[in-house]
Amino acid sequence: MKSLAPIIRTVLTILLALLVGGIIMQLSGKDALNAYGVLLNSAFGNPRAIANTLLTATPLIFTGLATLIAFRAGIFNVGVEGSLYVGAFAAAWVGFTFTGLPALPLIGLCFSAGALVGGLWGLIPGYLKARLRVDEIVTTIMLNYVAILFTDYLVTGPFFVPGMANAMSAQVAEQAQLPRLVERSQLNASFILALVSVIVVAWLLRRTTLGYEVKTIGSNPLFARWMGMPVARTILLVMFISGLLGGLAGAGQVLGVHYRFVSGFSRGLGFDGIVVALLGRNSPLGALLAALFLGALRNGSSTMEMFTQIPRDLIDIVIALVIFFVAVEISFGWLKRRTIAAATPEAEQKGQADGLA
């Protein structure tokens, strides 16, 4: 019962967002019911539609996990996007460099390279936070630009492929391209890796010393320090894992969808991870559901655009509304406390002091 309440609240919030989105559609002269019908059909109507929804969800699962594990430790890592880029490039580089290797070792090596490089990228702001107490929000935002521009430089400079219209690397070896799971869809084996990652992260958080430390540091860092927990080490480890998951997201897109590194290909998949983590209330299973939901909206809207008069921008508005309402709903408890506090400062810390008085 305790764990069900947030799910119900999230679902209600989403329904509210869909309702408001529908009103907006109606006001702009579209038939909202019809639009949602088409959307649903485009997202789940046939096996191929479902496969494409899962395909769209795959990188979001990774980046959602990457974001939430940091959130759990009280680290606001906005740098998953950067890890995704450097990880993607590393995977692509291995893929087009070691073309002599057989499929399995090569794919393993590609993913390992993506994970490792993404993780190391996450360690930079992690080190700055853990050792020098530099705020991670600023550093991770800045490092995103560095990663995007640096990988762009790599494919326009040292790894430039002549004769290509866009800035992109060479193609990865054929045996490094991930097997497809469904005909006529790009859905590929990286989706399965994403599911495995959900389980691993959930297990890590629930059952291990690291998960315990993450929870403690995230809920009361001062207490963690007084108990002698290795706070700095945990921050480093969490940032490494967060970056690693970002790197896996990038590697998955390269090996399963694009087959090469394309400059600027992500367009915010890393940031979407924040939405997924928020919507999934920082739980791995929640993030999976949130990623599937967002994947369905995105995939559905692009198909919808082809068959109806409704521009996908309207669905983007719905997505934005969902984020907005969820954010408001999550802050609501806090808001309520603030309003009481305005009249009686005593209540300000009631939430914190509850029961300990």
Partner: protein
């Protein structure tokens, strides 16, 4: 007709019947004591009265009229004010700003500072609560902060004052002055409800007292007709024995277990301290002192979370000065910190998780997997052994009553059989039974050769338990007394900074 009447009040939390059919009369102009064991439901009842929680059943009558109190604003409108045990002031604002917060006098959209200052001044003169309206709250000692809390209630015209364990954080002198203030307020027409675990305070201050046990009223007594031990018997349901203070073990077993040499902390804006002391095995060294004279700095340096420390700390003869906190704990240092809410517990986590915080990593099996079932079972055992009143070990520490939360800290720190225990105000907020239990534990540790450093503002506790008492003033140990030679007067003088070199050992 009573001023305040509670009838059949009932309040349940998931799995807990916190208040059960409570009926209570408070007459106008009395100071009504409210006592009961930890978790008996005192704070819950007061939260209902102050509109922070809603009762499941029952009614509240003020002057015979039934009232609905949906939130604290309603309570304030009805003239009810509350001082919580943990002060809720904004440290960066001035006294006057804190007092008026949310109800400031204004010039249009602007704060009318001039009027505000005059109002606060008038108020503090009217009630004899001297405090500088322009001082920053962060600069005030606790006793004065509490005065600000009381003024805050009075500024909102409270006629019924609720004080939840107001004396727990005060020095004896401050308690005296609080009593004076309350007596004046009552003489001026206010009525007060006063919660405490110290029964002599009830005897000294209250006309009547109501005793709660496990959510129910077990009796209301006239303090003139009763004795503290009678109240204690009502509270727990059987006779209460004071802990037997045993003598320290023979000198032969005494060896230095904790040595602090020329310890200096000069970090940031904090007070520089310079401390030398030695705690022997089998003794309790009490540290007396007004709060804010270097106690926190000393504790932070001992446990290893302070920056800018020089000097030396030895544990059983080995230096731990540059050793991380975890290693210090592994070598046998245990700590009951002053502020359980921030330093001692993680409120958002379950009881069993809090109990495991010191040794979870030692229990880990391969791959860092934690034996959750085993850890919970161990926690359940500790709930039993330390008599922590909770539904089970999985509930959040944040839902525990103040005293039960404190017992979680104590259970965690004592279960490991430490070699040195640093205990800061270990019985703060505990009921007499639990406080006695903790004191017995301290004595048991002493008997087992542990070195105990007891830091407390409670002189009675220090005098009862300590073998030696050192006085901390302005970051220095200014005097040390063996228990036989220590008197309250001497210690009090030293606490106020009057050095008496002839008494230094």
């Amino acid at each position: 007709m009573s001023f305040l009447e509670l009838r059949g009040i009932r309040k349940t939390y998931p799995g807990v019947l916190a208040n059960d059919d409570i009926s209570l009369h408070v007459e106008a102009g009395e100071i009504h004591g409210l006592v009961g064991e930890n978790g008996a439901g005192k704070s819950t009842l007061m939260k209902l009265l102050y509109g922070m929680e809603q009762p499941d059943a029952g009614e509240i009558r003020l002057n015979g009229k039934r009232v609905m109190i949906a939130n604290p604003q309603d309570a304030i409108r009805l003239g009810i004010g509350m001082v919580h045990q943990h002060f809720q002031l904004v440290p960066s604002l001035t006294v006057a700003e804190n007092i008026a917060l949310g109800a400031e006098p204004r010039y249009g959209p602007f704060l009318n500072r001039f009027r505000l200052r005059r109002q606060v001044q008038a108020l503090s003169e009217q009630f004899g609560l001297q405090v500088d309206p322009n001082a920053l709250v962060s600069d005030l000692p606790v006793g004065l902060q509490q005065r600000v809390e009381i003024l805050k209630m009075l500024y909102r015209n409270a006629r019924l004052l609720i004080l939840d364990e107001p004396s727990a954080v005060l020095t004896p002198q401050e308690v005296e002055s609080l009593f004076g203030v309350l007596r004046r307020l009552v003489a001026g027409g206010c009525t007060a409800i006063f919660i405490t675990h110290k029964l002599y305070e009830i005897m000294a201050l209250c006309t009547r007292a109501t005793v709660l046990r496990r959510g129910r009223v077990v009796g209301t007594v006239q303090t003139v007709d009763t004795t503290p031990s009678e109240i204690a018997r009502l509270m727990v349901g059987h006779e209460v024995e004071a802990p037997v203070i045993t003598e320290a073990p023979a000198d032969g077993r005494r060896r230095p277990r904790l040595e602090v040499r020329n310890l200096q902390i000069t970090s940031g804006s904090r007070r520089a301290t310079q401390i030398d002391l030695t705690v022997f095995g089998g003794e309790i060294l009490g540290i007396a002192g007004v709060e804010g004279n270097g106690q926190q700095e000393l504790v932070e340096a001992l446990i290893g979370v302070a920056d800018g420390v020089s000097g030396e700390v030895l544990l059983d003869g080995e230096s731990i000065t540059r050793v991380p906190t975890r290693t210090r704990r592994e070598r046998g240092l245990a700590l009951i910190p002053e502020d359980r809410q921030t330093e001692g517990l993680s409120k958002a986590m379950a009881i069993w998780e809090n109990l495991s915080a010191g040794d979870y990593y030692q229990q880990a099996q391969g791959l860092g997997v934690l034996p959750l079932g085993q850890m919970r079972a161990m926690a359940a055992g500790l709930l039993n052994r330390f008599d922590i009143r909770a539904t089970d070990e999985r509930v959040g520490v944040g839902t525990l009553s103040g005293g039960n939360a404190q017992k979680v800290v104590i259970a965690r720190e004592l279960m490991r059989d430490p070699s040195v225990l640093v205990a800061v105000q270990p019985t703060r907020g505990l009921d007499i039974g639990a406080a006695g239990f903790v004191q017995e534990q301290l004595l048991r540790l002493r008997g087992a050769g542990v070195g105990v450093l007891l830091i407390s503002a409670d002189l009675d506790e220090l005098l009862a338990l300590s073998d030696r008492i050192a006085v901390l003033f302005n970051g220095r140990i200014v005097a040390q007394f063996p228990r036989a030679a220590a008197t309250r007067e001497q210690i009090g003088l030293a606490m106020a900074g009057k050095t008496m070199s002839e008494n230094i050992l």
